[in-house]
């Protein structure tokens, strides 16, 4: 070890020392965002939860965040700098931060890390995600009932299991109430790009879709649907209530606040442990936004009944008999999907005509 390395190591040790010391009076929670908090969707909800968490602890917890962090080498630097500023717990809120989060966590064993939607954990890295597919089931039901052209457009983001699960869940529930329904899926390979999202929505609508579902973060598809008229959409990640009652007829809302409060509380109490959390409607991590008057009363009642059945655990959105796209059996009559298969889901279900890009 040469002298310079020795000095920097000492400096690093010193920083870690001060971090530990700061814990006595106040802790700092950091957030890394993929988009701006003003996206009105995914990042917006994380930022709302951050603010609620800060308010909950009433001065005991300081929060910091960095927005628009690309999922490239920049992510590792952003997370490291956040750890260096003395953050005690860092939430990295996009899938692409997975490897950078683990790399930084290794260098800062005293800092706790929470990675959203990933699958890699370590002693100081937890993962958390929501069972969005439960919301997709309700959404699929309404979409299947409401479509007149029987064409449903789906703006998909990045081909990871979470997104594929959402497509499958929406599809089987739309199909159940409307056997003629067809899904057109457009992959954007980005989570947040209002211009591309709007283009995709317009293309789908021009091809006859009168329902547009999205797994991207901005409100641009809502605006495109409003412009076109007679097209319905659902708020994604956030309520997007400013587009109600039409085109937005309902929404899937991510509510991260209770989780953030619980995890920060655990750091305060010194009881934080690496965990894997995957909650849904039942625990309140996934919410269904107000179903607007544009939806007929009977459809609304059915949708709410399904939501309650999912919340109570009575109904699982992936209940057999279900076949994979290639016609092979997946779930037998009455069988429900196990979490392992769902977590790595990389196949479409029978009836979807598209192919998963690879």
């Amino acid at each position: 070890m040469n002298r310079r390395t020795l000095l920097t190591t000492a400096a690093l040790a010193l920083t870690l020392g001060t971090t530990a010391f700061a814990q006595d009076e106040e802790i700092t929670a950091g957030f890394i965002y993929i988009g701006p908090p003003g996206d009105g969707g995914w990042t917006y909800e994380h930022d709302q939860a951050r603010q609620k968490m800060e308010a909950h602890f009433d001065g005991k917890v300081k929060t910091i965040y960095q927005e628009n962090v690309p999922e490239s080498a920049d992510a590792e630097r952003a997370i490291t700098q956040m750890a260096l500023t003395g953050a005690d717990i860092i939430f990295t809120t996009s899938f692409g931060y997975m490897d950078p989060t683990l790399a930084v966590a290794e260098k800062f064993p005293d800092v706790k890390f929470e990675h959203a939607t990933g699958y890699k954990r370590s002693d100081n890295v937890s993962t958390y995600s929501a069972r969005f597919y439960e919301g997709r089931a309700v959404q699929g039901h309404i979409a299947g009932k409401m479509t007149k052209t029987n064409k449903i457009g789906y703006i998909a983001s990045v081909p990871i299991p979470e997104v594929i699960r959402g497509i499958n869940s929406a599809y089987i529930h739309a199909k159940k109430v409307n056997p003629d329904v067809e899904f057109s899926i457009i992959w954007l390979y980005t989570w947040f790009d209002p211009a591309k999202e709007a283009d995709a929505a317009r293309a789908l609508i021009e091809n006859g879709a009168d329902v547009v579902l999205q797994h991207t973060d901005s409100t641009a598809p809502q605006a495109a649907a409003q412009e076109a008229g007679n097209v319905i959409t659902f708020g994604q990640a956030s309520d997007m209530a400013e587009y109600a009652p039409m085109p937005r007829v309902s929404s899937i809302i991510d509510d991260w606040a209770p989780y953030y409060i619980a995890r920060v509380q655990a750091v305060l109490d010194g009881t934080w442990e690496s965990t894997d959390t995957w909650d849904g409607i039942g625990k309140g991590m996934v919410g269904i936004g107000e179903i607007s008057d544009a939806v007929p009363a009977d459809v609304k009642a059915e949708a709410l009944a399904m939501k309650d059945a999912i919340a109570s655990g009575e109904y699982h959105p992936f209940t057999g008999p279900l076949k994979k796209q290639d016609g092979s059996d997946w779930l037998a009559e009455g069988e429900v999907a196990d979490d392992g298969t769902l977590a790595g889901m990389n196949f479409y279900l029978e009836g979807i005509t598209a192919e998963i890009p690879n």
Binding site: L12, P36, Q81, D99, N358
Partner: protein, 361 residues
């Protein structure tokens, strides 16, 4: 009346003064913007320009990061600057960077999990070759069919991005990645990892290559006949042709060199700081490098300094977001201002300000 008068020769003094003046003007106008946002302006400017270098808590980490961020920018900008000198406008370095990374990573992954010491050099060669080959497309089209290299090279960026998305969820996908897109992580494979050469200095092979490229470009442009031919082609194409310089050779050389360096930069980035081929591993270095090339006056030493300055505003900007809760967009505005003022004050290198009416002077 104010008016501009063309100087007989670009001013030596102003060439040196304008970058400093531009930084100074950016600080003033940027400071006003930060003040309007309700943030302490002096504090913000100090965080952006001073703290990454000298802050007692961060500098040990952010100083090496300057090299990590500047390395690919300099490496790509050097290649571009030589073409720009010859009037060959390669706007597609981003695509050459992506294809280089894919080719290099692909060659490496074909031998996974071999621990041979030859793996990394082979990957670098394949990366450079990939970038070179991608740049040959606009070169061939330009020399054979007279197409515009600006359009072709730019369009090929979008093609490259789609190839990147395709291979990261198909051909190069990590078989142990549970169906998620993205290649294996090179940081966990020693033979292919472009690690720091000396711990905590940020010096990886890509940074070394950038420094070598700076020296090489300086030698080429000032000492070698090829450098002379390139400049001649740029400044007086007809004279160059009469002197027996083949325009076709210059096109192939300039685009090829730029592609080579961009491809190598992509490979160094993918196996080092980024660690992985994913749909988003490219961070726009190929486009930012165009700015760096012009900020550095297409001169190798200027590019070295410009690359470091760009890196400083990136890292300082991130720190300012973190410490002062400045919005990310204000940092981009701040960087934009820097370029704007640089180009604006650049006028004084070639023109002199005159008072009074023409003819009275």
């Amino acid at each position: 009346m104010l008016r501009l008068e063309k100087r007989p020769q670009p001013s030596q003094l102003w060439t040196v003064v304008t970058p400093i003046l531009a930084v100074f003007l950016t600080m003033i106008v940027g400071g006003i913007m930060f003040a309007l946002l309700g943030k302490p302006p002096l504090e913000a400017i100090k965080v952006i320009f001073w703290d990454p270098l000298f802050h007692e808590q961060f500098a040990a980490y952010s100083r090496p990061q300057l090299l990590v961020k500047a390395g690919p920018l300099i490496l790509i900008a050097i290649g571009l600057s030589i073409g720009f000198k010859a009037g060959i406008w390669n706007i597609g370095a981003e695509g050459q960077y992506i294809i280089g990374a894919i080719c290099g990573a692909g060659v490496g992954l074909a031998f996974y999990p071999s621990e041979s010491v030859l793996i990394f050099p082979a990957m670098v060669l394949a990366g450079a070759a990939g970038g070179w080959a991608w740049a040959m497309i606009p070169a061939v089209l330009k020399t054979r069919f007279g197409t515009n290299e600006i359009l072709v090279s730019l369009m090929l960026v979008y093609v490259a991005q789609n190839v990147l998305i395709s291979v990261s969820s198909g051909l190069l996908r990590n078989p142990e990645g549970m169906g998620f897109p993205g290649s294996r992580n090179f940081k966990q494979w020693d033979a292919a990892h472009n690690a720091e050469l000396i711990a905590n200095t940020g010096m990886h092979w890509g940074v070394v290559a950038a420094f070598i490229a700076v020296i090489g470009a300086y030698m080429l442009m000032s000492r070698h006949i090829m450098g002379f031919n390139i400049r001649l082609t740029g400044e007086a194409p007809r004279a160059a042709r009469f002197a027996g310089v083949s325009p076709t050779r210059i096109v192939f050389f300039c685009l090829g060199l730029a592609g080579l360096l961009a491809g190598a930069a992509g490979l160094f980035e993918a196996t080092g700081p980024a660690g992985q081929i994913t749909g988003a591993f490219n961070a726009g270095y190929g486009f930012t490098a165009i700015i760096v090339a012009f900020l550095g006056r297409l001169h190798p030493v200027g590019i070295l300094l410009a690359g470091l300055l760009m890196a400083l505003t990136y890292i300082g900007g991130e720190l300012a977001q973190l410490m002062l809760n400045l919005p990310g967009a204000s940092i981009q505005l701040f960087q934009g201002m820097l370029l704007f003022f640089l180009l604006a004050t650049d006028v004084f290198t070639n023109y002199r300000l005159r008072f009074g009416k023409k003819g009275l002077v």
